[in-house]
């Protein structure tokens, strides 16, 4: 027995570490999911229960009766998908331009784009609010999508540039020598080659858009554009103290987690390789 433990000490430590890690990482997740299936009276019980005794689904319809849930869901989807598509498309274009078509000052443009994330989103709010008032962009999908797309472009451009740099330039040169136009070499060679980076950034940008809170809070105050994250917080604010509707909020939280959970389960490799610019195998 002791010999076994000694021989497999590394593996045993790894598995113990894994158990501790999984417990801490998943505890709040388990708590939210189990609360959503716990009847209200049981949630407000002391001492609290760690495993719900009477499982129920009633929190879900109750929540949907309390707020325009599906309207918020649709708004969140439009906001997240719209900003993702705009940001990823524009960034792929810019990434190709910066990586391949060197021109005087291209490094400066790249640096400026990437460093512009250092300016905190919240610190630029006042002038943006003024612009939105002038152009009447408050409570519009267009306004929200522009803002969210913009905030995710620096990282996306950065990923795109490093990805294009890994594609051998010879293929494109050969195409140009063979008489293809620049446009043809981009659509027939570059875009197919960039597909992995595009997929990765679509996933990551969607998650960022789905989770965004500041812009919808400020610029989508009406129910017809309000997103889930803002709806969730205001659901909690309608009541004060211990009467906070955690039964409804947990049900809403679970439905907010579902899309990102699906993306993680199916896109784990793509996300990890994207966040590390392809360094993790």
């Amino acid at each position: 027995m002791i010999a076994f433990l000694r021989r497999h000490r590394g593996q045993i430590l790894t598995y113990l570490g894994f158990i501790l890690f999984a417990f801490v990482w998943l505890l709040p997740f388990y708590f939210i999911v189990s609360s959503s299936f716990t009847p209200r009276y049981e949630i407000f019980q002391t001492p609290p229960r760690y495993f719900p005794q009477n499982l129920t689904l009633e929190n879900y319809p109750n929540m949907m009766n309390a707020i325009p849930f599906w309207r918020f869901y649709l708004n969140s989807l439009i906001f997240a998908i719209g900003s993702t598509v705009v940001s990823t498309t524009f960034s792929a274009m810019a990434g190709y331009g910066l990586a391949r078509l060197h021109f005087p000052g291209s490094n400066l443009v790249f640096l400026g784009l990437v460093l512009s994330v250092a300016l905190p989103q919240v610190a630029l709010l006042v002038p943006i609010r003024e612009i939105f008032n002038t152009l009447d962009l408050n409570n519009t999908y267009l306004g929200l999508i522009i803002l969210e797309a913009s905030i995710t472009t620096p990282f996306t451009v950065w990923i795109m540039v490093s990805f294009v740099n890994q594609i051998p330039v010879e293929i494109e040169e050969a195409a140009l020598i063979d008489g293809a136009t620049l446009w043809q070499s981009i659509t027939r060679i570059v875009v197919p080659a960039m597909r992995p980076a595009l997929a990765t950034m679509l996933i990551i940008n969607f998650i960022n858009g789905w989770n965004e809170f500041l812009y919808p809070l400020i610029f989508a105050t009406r129910n017809d554009t309000k997103t889930l994250s803002v709806g969730l917080v205001s659901l909690g604010r309608e009541a004060i103290g211990s009467s906070r509707p955690w039964d409804l909020m947990s049900a809403m939280s679970v439905l907010m987690i579902v899309p990102v959970l699906i993306l993680i389960l199916f896109g784990q490799r793509a996300i990890v390789s994207g966040l590390t610019r392809g360094a993790v195998k």
Binding site: A22, W25, A94, G179, N211, L214, L232, L265, T276
Partner: protein, 308 residues
């Protein structure tokens, strides 16, 4: 993955004559870059300049007139207790979170890099805190810390510790820090994982042959080699976490009192009450903090690089 070149039909000769190749390149570059550059100018550069201009004005659309006040907003800030508390907690929050995220990030990255059967599962689990909305995490944790119904409160009461996390100013700050470390360590861990995979396997083998144990090779090989990357990530996290405002907003509303208010939260509150000039002044302070972080980070980065 790449299409064969033969598929591309030859270009029409007339088109080729109108521009030289390099002219067409510049034109293409301009067209490709225009959308992103326009977006960033519109939502970042212009607001940045405007914010600086607004910071020296008294401007509240609800209470005209709008007027130039010089350093007035900043003088007001200097005596503002909320601002003092906010800047104190901002620094605690940013430095504390980043330091803990780097430490736990290295530990988790080592686990995600270890060769064991559940490695892929571990990498998937790792992404969950990162991917769920911050407000969901903040409200879930708020409930775990709840003074009456929270699991954490219940467990510690059973152990004989009477403590109300969210009512005590220090407790609330610690709770916010815990949630933030939980939420963002996964991102740090993945980034460090990339660095771990870049360490050549031969170095570990050589160390093993020379009789080094795993702990020694971690301190002498792994850590020095991933240090430049770790510093870069640390820098990035510090700057990025300066603007975290949804966590205190959803979890504590900056309370109790204003003990968990950070600069970002304070700006949002001032914007909500239409104190545009004052909000801009706080924003300028934030820009300065970013600049200082950047300068110090660059200095540290150079030092670490030289050491290796």
């Amino acid at each position: 993955m790449t299409h064969s070149v033969e598929n591309a039909p030859p270009a029409s000769p007339s088109r080729r004559k109108s521009f030289t190749l390099s002219q067409r390149r510049y034109l293409a570059a301009a067209l490709l870059l225009l959308p992103v550059v326009a977006l960033r100018l519109f939502t970042t550069l212009y607001p940045f300049i405007q914010t600086i201009l607004l910071s020296v004005q008294k401007y509240n659309p609800a209470f005209p007139p709008r007027e130039y006040v010089g350093a007035g907003n900043f003088e007001k800030l200097a005596g503002d207790l909320v601002f003092q508390s906010s800047i104190e907690f901002t620094l605690i929050f940013v430095f504390g979170s980043t330091l803990l995220q780097l430490i736990f990030g290295i530990l988790v990255a080592s686990l995600l890099n270890a060769k064991f059967r559940l490695r892929n599962l571990a990498r998937t689990i790792n992404l969950i805190p990162w991917a769920i909305p911050m407000v969901v995490a903040a409200l879930g944790w708020r409930w775990l810390f709840d003074g009456t119904y929270g699991w954490i409160t219940d467990l510690q009461t059973r152990l004989g510790v009477q403590f109300s996390w969210l009512i005590d100013p220090v407790g609330a700050r610690v709770a916010i820090l815990i949630v933030n470390v939980w939420k963002s360590t996964p991102f740090v861990a993945i980034s460090i994982l990339a660095g771990l995979q870049g360490v050549p396997e031969e170095l570990y083998e050589a160390a093993r042959v020379d009789g080094a144990n795993p702990v020694q090779s971690f301190w002498k090989i792994t850590l020095p080699l991933i240090m430049p990357l770790t510093v870069t990530i640390g820098m990035y996290m510090m700057v990025w976490q300066l603007s975290v405002f949804d966590l205190p907003y959803a979890m504590t509303s900056g309370g109790p009192g204003f003990s968990t208010s950070v600069l970002a939260y304070m700006i949002q509150q001032q914007v909500a009450t239409l104190n545009y000039g004052y909000a801009s002044a706080i924003s300028v302070v934030m820009f300065l903090v970013v600049a200082v972080f950047g300068a110090v980070g660059l200095y540290v980065f150079r030092r670490v690089e030289v050491q290796i």
